[in-house]
Symmetry: C2
Subunit: 748 residues, 2 copies
Amino acid sequence: MTTGSKISLIMAILVATFPAFGATDEHPKLIMTKAGVERIRAELGSVPLFDATVATVKAEVDAEIELGIDTPIPLDYSGGYTHERHKRNFFVAQKAGALYQILEDKKYANYVRDMLFQYEAMYKDLPLHPKTRSYARGKLFWQCLNDSNWLVYMSQAYDAIYDYLSADERQQLEENLFRPFADHISVDSPQFFNRVHNHSTWGNAAVGMIGLVMGDDELVERALYGIPFGEIDTAAKDNDGGFIFDKDGRAGFLANLDDPFSPDGYYTEGPYYQRYAMYPFLIFAQALDNVKPDLNVLKHKDGVLLKAVDALLALSDADGEFFPLNDGQKGMSYQTGALVTAVDIAYHVGEQDPRLLSVAEEQGRVLLDDAGFSVAQAVRDDKARPFEKRSVNLSDGPDGKQGGVALLRSGNEDLTLVFKYSAQGLSHGHYDKLSFSLFERGDEVLQDYGLVRFVNIEQKGGGNYLKENSTWAKQTIAHNTLVQNETSHFGGKYEIGSQHHSELYFYDDTNSDVQVVSATESNAYPGTYMRRTMALIRDESFEKPFMLDLLKVQSDKANQYDLPFYFMGQAMQVNFDYEAPATLNPLGGKNGYQHLYVEGKGRPSSGSTQFLWMDNGRFYSLTSAAQENDDVMFTRIGANDPEFNLRRDAALMIRRKNTRDTVFASVVEAHGSYSPVSELALNTNSNISALEVAHDDDRYTAVLITEVNDQASLFILSNKDASKSTKHRLKIGNKTYRWKGPYLYTEE
Amino acid sequence: MTTGSKISLIMAILVATFPAFGATDEHPKLIMTKAGVERIRAELGSVPLFDATVATVKAEVDAEIELGIDTPIPLDYSGGYTHERHKRNFFVAQKAGALYQILEDKKYANYVRDMLFQYEAMYKDLPLHPKTRSYARGKLFWQCLNDSNWLVYMSQAYDAIYDYLSADERQQLEENLFRPFADHISVDSPQFFNRVHNHSTWGNAAVGMIGLVMGDDELVERALYGIPFGEIDTAAKDNDGGFIFDKDGRAGFLANLDDPFSPDGYYTEGPYYQRYAMYPFLIFAQALDNVKPDLNVLKHKDGVLLKAVDALLALSDADGEFFPLNDGQKGMSYQTGALVTAVDIAYHVGEQDPRLLSVAEEQGRVLLDDAGFSVAQAVRDDKARPFEKRSVNLSDGPDGKQGGVALLRSGNEDLTLVFKYSAQGLSHGHYDKLSFSLFERGDEVLQDYGLVRFVNIEQKGGGNYLKENSTWAKQTIAHNTLVQNETSHFGGKYEIGSQHHSELYFYDDTNSDVQVVSATESNAYPGTYMRRTMALIRDESFEKPFMLDLLKVQSDKANQYDLPFYFMGQAMQVNFDYEAPATLNPLGGKNGYQHLYVEGKGRPSSGSTQFLWMDNGRFYSLTSAAQENDDVMFTRIGANDPEFNLRRDAALMIRRKNTRDTVFASVVEAHGSYSPVSELALNTNSNISALEVAHDDDRYTAVLITEVNDQASLFILSNKDASKSTKHRLKIGNKTYRWKGPYLYTEE
């Protein structure tokens, strides 16, 4: 009995045992269906977005066919030739398969067949990839992750030409290539396959999708539920420093769907990795929805997969670029192919949300499958509606109880505040509890550094994480949040950080003029309690909305506190004296401080420290309530960076020494404009003359904002009670304030 | 007899004496004519570009009328309220006048009239402006220059409503406002008015234009020929450090037209100031052309004014931004109003070059006058043709004999080399003989720093030149050229620099695959002779064109030579070892070196120094023929810059010590791409494995470029003979090369 016959037998038994299995035996079945393909062929030429994509893809695939097929012996890390060639192969094969179905031109089927047989001929005797850096080495690529990418795409290509191949051809491919390939990334690599981690999602989807095409339900089972756990080292870590196995022993696609997504669809690693992970989730879910509809995978966890698409789109700036929370490479946007997939599938299998269509229009292309065709048809039929991004609070954690990320947006995304009070974010998490970044339209005003990696650029460490990612980017001081005694949150220890998360105090975006989020962190520094309250306030006496930042710290001992603001652009003016050293020295020796030069150091000259800068033709002012002994420092990234892996960006940093309890209160205004063409400088000055903490005790903290015209406004926070219905009364000076709910913003 | 009567009498005598004077007595006459206005009114509503401009301007002026007129007592420098308000007033008044003529709505005439009478009431008793920084203080503004701007625009406004006013009203305005205003900026301020300098051009145009409107030929004469020189201090300097009076005693508009423009239309201060100066030149020239056609001012010096418009457009990058030669603020582009004027007038009064129309289309607006209407009509009638910028060599100096600026462009402006071998450039000149900058499309690859000034931004020194403009931006080390013994060219002395210019050796763009410019400088460092030869070469074995840089130095003594390359973007890789200090120290103490930190210092590891960087999603490689004892340094701007006036940009610098004669040979390649969305890195490596000086003597210098595939090509320069017809023969190794003309580029 051949292996193929054995599989057929097992299959027959499975189908008999579980009737839902093997529900359809037509091909294609994964992301294209027989019915879908017929619809596409019938309307081809009358659906502009789809037709345009067909034309683009056809030109690309034709050029590759012209070049000929190359399946080189694997040698390189990402960025190198063999890596990039194999990667390109699976992308092109998937597209060629789709073109075969749409255009019914055999040259595309032949191309896929020939490529698969070249792989088949090679794979049988292929040893592990020669590069040894990965905790789970692949065969075509240096890590199983990339092998899984290959199989996710090749499954679709194989599905598309399945009926074009003879039974013998199929058997040969399945026995010599697909089955051993699936085994290598699963049973032979449990440390890769059996995790709750985006790597495993790819592995699960790869094994599941080829299982669906082959009608191999054993593989599908393995994909959905993982390999039964035997004896495993649950303390093992991968080469990013993350734990390998889930402590509750869960694995497989459904576990991966449960765990990293919160009920709101936030993916705990952050949007950059969510974008990467969405593709296998959605493509496999769509395939399961077609082939095993009874599994109802799209309804799993209250439809979390489709919520995740919404969350991911919400996590992008006005240009569609994802906020670089945790390890995120800046510039990644919803223009990426994974988001074309996400948007098209979410539209197709979801509620046909017409706002998704306007994103699809911006993307300018669709999937060459049933989902893409639905989107293109709807766009043609003028169903698209604007995708207006609103303020939203996204919970983190499988149950939504591990903090979250709040996005406060003023109208039209003029200002967007990204406030992070989440869980650690697995191995790609940074140590930056209660940190924030601020955007005006698509531009960073106060930045989150992002990662230290030049993804896929071989010259920079093979395109992998650089050591400054650990020594700088992950450290707390690399973020706009509080650092105590020059140490990172949780001592920069993953094991500790993973056990904790910040707690939401309240989130309220009901008043679009005063939107507030407040959260608490009490584990980052044992014995120290931090509550940060951030608001976007639109006040008619200001040109644009401003951001209020109120950070209350209480500790059981005296500490040194550092609060940096990583501004983008050109420093223009300050209202205090400082010394600028002729020689630049690192600010410290570790925890990220070794990477900061001090370019200036001074003391506040008045009760408010004010700093003006300019970027992208706009002005920004930071005004902070100052204490006499504060150090105000200009820092610049770049010390101890011999290979120029870091950007030379700057911060203004407030240092408060020998302090137990304190409040940092700041306002960031956006104002004015400058054009190098008209050379007109408008509204270049801050509208604020003074900022002071007008009251602070256990129950209330109040900030008084005085404008240059001597008008003033007051923000009072209730420190003990976030209920919307509680009534408060507070006397400050001669005046008594009465209000309901956790905060008051009022004219003075 | 009143002053008015006296003027009328003088006028009558003048008209009798010079029949050409007073040729037209209709109004408007300057930039609108009675006939032109009739044409405009007849076609209004059917000329989209003009109609759109009318709508925009109407909205702007209506809003100003709504706000009311404010003519505050002068107090501020530029950036301050009174300065900006008076500046806005003259812009708006000019526009309101045009609207009155076009729309025949009296509210616009009334607005201009009321504003003029507010000025009339104020001006009579107005003392000098209270700010004392200028060498020629104005009354409404801190410098006569801005007062002149006011009068150039107000003349047009007055012209537009001239017929609307009564004779008494006109007399009152002319006696109390315009005539004393014109006198203040001319006879009362000869140090401003009688120069050959862009300041004076504004003064000349202002006095001349109001003279034309008033029919006051004495003023027109004064504008054209200056005030007769009496006893003046010819050694006087202005507050930029430039000489005040022309050594040959010339003055007035025609002298200003003769002197700073070369026969090719290059303006010796550079494009940033040319753009500023073009407005008064062209607006006054157009007015003269209308009122005094016999003067034939547009034909003056072989039509230099219209050539200057072409030259100015050629001096912009692919985005229309001017190359920042000398003191130029980056970002200024042909979108500026002065260039709308230039393009419209050049089209209208010139040869109706249809390429200008495509620039006008990009500008999206036209002048509200006869010229603008011509352009808008022609655009409507589909006459626009693409403005393809080509390679061009622009001579400098009144006779075109003081060096020049060469622009080498590969097809479609993929690469543009800006090579400067010009004269000093008056008081706005930098000390950077034989320097260059390189652009890919609209992006800087190797930058010219530009100026240190934040024009009109009050927070930065009132918007004026900052001291780092002298200590950094003007210094030689701030540029991509050779510095000897850490001193600037001509010792950084304006008096010396002004006496010299580089000499063109040859310029040849006839072969679009190998475009070459070569120039010589022998005065920057007495005793040292430099010849720099730069080529843009398109070779099919390279992905994109590359730049070859061949700098031959001969000196009568041993020197230290520094050659910096101010790259833009992220350092990626080098092929040599270097030390990166933990502490950053300034590289030197003066001549700009005090502003440079050393971030790395090493020695070449091979015969070629190679450096790879990335910017804007593209890769660049610099490969230089190295000598064993070269220091290779990474420098960064920013030392001794306590107020953050400088950008923290970087350079790779080659230092060759204790050397008399040498050759610096380098190639800069542009290659590959990176997208943060696709995360694909393509062609990230240099195509060059080695670069060496294969031959060097008095007669020939040859550079051998070896590619990674071991193919090689050779560039040979004839050092003694630039004739295109001379035949050459040179033996290098075993091989003899024969060619004709100053250079050979050949496969090896």
